[in-house]
Amino acid sequence: MLHYIGRRLLQLIPVLLGMTFVVFMIIRAIPGDPAQVILGQQASESAILALRTKLGLDNPWYIQYFDYLMGLLKGDLGESLRTMNPVSNEIWTYLAATFELSLFAILIAIIVGVNAGIISAWFQNSWFDYTAMILALVGVSMPIFWLGLMLQYIFGIELGILPTTGREEVRNPVESMTNIYVLDTIMQGRFDQLGTVFKHLVLPGLALATIPMAIIARMTRSSMLEVMRSDYVRTARAKGQKMFWVVYKHALKNAIIPVLTIIGLQMGLLLGGAILTETIFGWPGVGRYIYEAINFRDYPVIQSGILVVAFIFVMINLVIDVLYSLIDPRIKYD
């Protein structure tokens, strides 16, 4: 097993290297000059040239790329062109915010999605099955922008039970330590604040969970249907095992492997792809951070931001692969 993990980690190197190269080239291929964006519309031509030199933007691309790689080897993610702060300092707070939100969202998606899928398969062609699968179809095709605003309207304005934006009640702010507010408030023993932090998580969490939830439900259902037809399930039922245990213990164990793959992929997508949710709900996450950096042509932030997100994405998938063998002993990596 360790051997396998080691090999997978080694494989990471060319993947990430290739990715830095692609990102590096793409962001330089799009027109727009960071020096211009930093200095604003007022800037004189000479100032822009001077700044380009200072930022190293007038070097040939391969020298810039080499410098960037050398920095990465030393653990230096570069410095934001706009705020002048090191990316490694800045990105942590955004990652923590996104991590908190996507973990919450994926939990909702797994709990609701997996169960809905199981029940749909169990009672195939029942009203529950039809309703759940129609809802799932609606879910995958839901425009998040619209959904987000509707959630805000219904739960925030009409019912008045949930806050619409942000991570905390700003008039009573959380003292951030790890910047994962659920952890922070627990560590500080501020359980009153923990409640408001959770409330702030609900709407963006739901909006973000919708699509993965729908995908997970559909995947679980089809995977379960297949397994339920197999001989060992029939045997289990024949020997008089309760249906509930047949489904949740025997069938699910075999059916969950492809679902796990989907969960891993979705979790990765949530980390980087929460831009829309983060925008509507004013969530200071990493998606918005990178997205805004693109508008400002903040090259180091775009490059390193995507690198970090990609790294996490690959790591999650590695963890999922390792989980396979824990769930299904027949899967062996050595």
Binding site: G32, Q42, L149, L162, V202, R288, F296
Partner: protein, 538 residues
């Protein structure tokens, strides 16, 4: 059997869901706390100001974006202040200012008994140190200093010759040549006076640790989320500020920001969509604010690209576009028709200019005179981002497209991502493009010279308009100290620009804000940086 199981499972699910919902609603009793602020004097008065983006730097000298100035305007103070609603010159940290006859020397008398938040005394030496810091900088450090005062120490264009202290409370500025907008420049947010102790101590990190003399002190900055400033208990005006705390929150989406205002999560929201005006006015708990206009939205015609190198064609396009219809449809009426390149609130505005009326027949006649009787094909570039001066670029472009089609011009709408759009436009790659400008210091020079002088081709003169006569007038106006003579010069320049029609000026919009109905004394400033020291809750 199966059916029964399904029902019990469904029931269980319902139970879980309703428990969650119940948990949410039982907590909400303390959620609406925001409503009773102000009623009880013991309760701190907190204003939460929602806006579209986060600040970039809280060092005003380094910042170029409006979101940074919104905050620094309340932490720092300038020697001179703009008026509450306009860009007239009023006292600030200086109580008296006297220009010399020749416009080369300005003497400022400073307010006494003012301290920076870190306890450093505010005096003439502090002012001198601030100007020295800027004058010895570079353009990527202090971009506004470079553009407003013509560069840095040693540069040929640098306007300021010396800044010296004469005693503790008198500062003397000597200029190399007269600069008429000098006092207006001094009043701009970027030239707020910072604590010398603090900027020497923090260096490059001063932007994260701002220390000024303003009515509020900096507390905390949660990046991309919120900035908190507290009442400065030692503020020199003992009556102010009225609020105990101001929190600036970044909520990028306009509709979401309005939602947050409706649920009391914020008390004041910037950037209200014109189409949401009715939602705000219909809600008794909210009020609408209009920011006086200091902008212009226009359709630039690249003067060097045929057929727009022909003045008749440019005039024809000016007659073809129905500005009133655009304003009614997309600005919700919250804008005035533009006939000059600058809004009427700016001194020097020439109101005698008739403007091009909406007259398709006349437009066709002009096209015929120009030899384009059958029209022509062109690209029409639509702004990809909403701006106060152009709330919806694509839709406005569609109206213009239709207007142009009516006089026989076939326009194809094109758009690019914003930074790309600006770069390509600057290179003169567009036939006609939508763009706009928000003034920096409320001076005519900041519109006419910046946007239309030949010196600024390759910079902000995106239409490549070049007229030597206009250039001479604008340069003369820059060093004319007599306000009346100066306005006369700008009036002349606007006449020539009107005849040459380098653009189609479309609208001067009044950006909208909305706030809690209990909010009093909030006056939005045309520059976009609002002073919040008088703001209070009923």
């Amino acid at each position: 059997m199966n059916k029964k199981k399904l029902w019990s499972l469904a029931l269980l699910l319902m139970l879980v869901l309703s428990t969650i919902l119940a948990a949410c609603s039982s907590d909400s009793s303390d959620g609406g706390k925001g409503e009773d602020k102000g009623g009880d004097s013991a309760e701190p008065k907190i204003l939460v100001f929602g806006r579209g983006g986060d600040s970039v730097s809280l060092d005003p000298a380094r910042a170029t974006d409006g979101e940074s100035f919104k905050v620094t305007q309340n932490v720092f103070e300038t020697l001179l202040n703009f008026g509450d609603k306009d860009t007239t010159i009023n006292e600030g940290l200086a109580t008296k200012w006297e220009p010399s006859e020749d416009g080369l020397t300005y003497t400022f008398t400073l307010r006494e008994g003012v301290k920076f938040h870190d306890g450093t005394d505010f005096n003439a030496e502090a002012v001198v140190k601030n100007f020295e810091r800027w004058a010895n900088g570079t353009e990527d450090q202090f971009p506004y200093y470079a553009s407003m005062f013509g560069g840095f120490k040693g540069d040929e264009g640098h306007v300021i010759d010396s800044v010296t202290a004469d005693g503790d409370y008198t500062v003397v500025f000597k200029l190399k040549r007269p600069q008429s907008p000098f006092l207006k420049n001094i009043a701009m947010s970027p030239f707020a006076i910072a604590s010398p102790t603090a900027f020497e101590k923090f260096g490059d990190k001063f932007g994260d640790n701002p220390v000024g003399t303003g009515p509020f002190t900096f507390v905390e900055w949660k990046k991309n989320d919120s900035i908190t400033i507290d009442k400065n208990a030692d503020y020199w005006d003992k009556e102010l500020p009225k609020l105990d705390k101001v929190i600036f929150r970044a909520i990028p989406d306009n509709s979401a920001r309005l939602n947050a205002l409706s649920t009391n999560e914020i008390d004041l929201a910037d950037g209200i969509n014109p189409s949401d005006t009715k939602t705000v006015t219909d809600n008794a708990k909210l009020q609408l604010f209009e920011r006086p206009s200091m902008n212009v939205g226009y359709l630039g015609l690249t003067n060097t690209r045929p057929p727009f190198d022909n003045v008749k064609v440019r005039q024809a396009v000016n007659h073809a576009i129905d500005k009133q219809a655009i304003i009614d449809a997309f600005f919700n009426g919250g804008a005035e028709i533009a006939k000059n390149p600058m809004p009427s609130s700016i001194s020097g505005y020439n109101d005698d200019i008739a403007g091009y009326d909406f007259n398709p027949e006349k437009a066709k006649a002009l096209l015929k005179e120009a030899g384009f009787e059958d029209g022509f094909e062109m690209e029409l570039w639509a702004m990809p981002v909403p701006r106060p001066y152009m709330p919806d670029g694509t839709k406005v472009a569609e109206v213009i497209q239709k207007n142009l089609a009516d006089i026989g011009i076939k326009a194809k709408i094109v758009s690019y991502e914003w930074a790309t759009y600006l770069e390509k436009t600057k290179n003169g790659e567009a036939d006609a493009f939508m763009l706009g400008w928000t003034g920096d210091n409320g001076d005519a020079d900041n519109f006419l010279y910046t946007l239309l002088d030949k010196d600024n081709i390759g910079s902000n003169n995106y239409s490549f308009y070049s007229n030597d006569k206009v250039h001479d007038i604008l340069i003369a106006a820059q060093s004319e100290v007599d306000e009346d003579k100066r306005n006369e010069l700008y009036a002349q320049a606007q006449e020539i620009i009107f005849e040459d029609a380098p653009w189609v000026p479309l609208a001067h919009s009044t950006p909208l804000l909305a706030g809690n109905a209990d909010l009093v004394n909030f006056t939005p400033h045309p520059t976009g940086s609002d002073r919040l020291n008088e703001v209070d809750f009923k």
